[in-house]
């Protein structure tokens, strides 16, 4: 019976990420300010979709296809090196 009556905030629709499926455009993408970045990797640690990878010289960058634009990396960055920029 419990499955017939949705309690509280049980989601009746599937996740909202369908529009942001692989290859589609996310809302906003993180951008790194390389002068502020200390290459600690906290953005890489907290990315739920493993979209952030290490690139040249130990800096980090986002894989455009996997990013959903949630903004956790911007929120968690110790030095405010990340800004979420609308994709053109």
């Amino acid at each position: 019976m419990a499955s017939e009556n949705p309690v509280g905030c049980v989601l009746l629709k599937e996740g909202r990420a369908k529009p942001f499926a692989k290859g589609a455009k996310p809302k906003a993408l993180p951008e790194w300010d390389r002068d502020r970045c200390i290459k600690c990797g906290i953005c890489y640690l907290f990315c739920p979709d493993a979209a952030i990878t290490r690139v040249d010289e130990g800096y980090f960058d986002v894989t455009r296809e996997y990013c959903k634009g949630c903004g956790i990396c911007q929120q968690e960055c110790w030095f405010g090196a990340i800004s979420m920029a609308e994709e053109v």
Binding site: E14, D49, C70, G71, I72
Partner: protein
Amino acid sequence: MTMDRYSIYAPLTLGKREFCIPDANEACPGCGAALALRHVYKALGLPEELKAKWRFPEKSKDGRGALLSLNKGRSGDGYPIEVLIDNEADLSLASLFQKSEPGTKVAEGYAYVATACSSYPFDLIEKCKRAQKSKGLAFVHVLTPCPVGWGFSPDFTVKIGLWAVESRLFPLYEVAKGAYRITVNTASPRPIVQYIKAQERFKGLSESEIEKLSSNVKEVYKNLAELSQRTDEVKL
């Protein structure tokens, strides 16, 4: 074990290999469950065939969260590790503020029981590894904030998890062979009001109810602190 034992560059010590999480493409932006699973997979390194059993908690039938039952690696000794991905989808206050699962599992005689949170990835990884090492049944209860269900902005997922632990609402501890140990110390707890006001799902709570809840949380934590006197790790 906790973040403060590692230096600021700790994330670089993580394993490079990323495991494919089925259905992760359907997770909402800022999903705590996807974040927790990523680290669970990193810690355990699953064989291919087991990955298919995972479904996202939003879709589970009873709305209680998803139970991930895993065999212990390839050569395992047969005992499964149970990982409960709890996104608090049932929303009843009684179960919110007094998680019954860890206590039940201890009473059932599990060799290793632990609570973890997606905002403390190193703690989560360490506990998964200890669960893998233990000789007997193992259970890890993971709290994963859900931006859509709880009603907060997706970039706040990690902060909300931190506040849940810091306000002693969801204390992180482990029970190895019946011995309790608190793994993340919250010497000066954060007021619960901050955690509650940040979420839309608690909109209807009155002041007196919040006070009642905070005194309830204090009581539960006091009982836990009395149980967990030892500070060193029990060898598994």
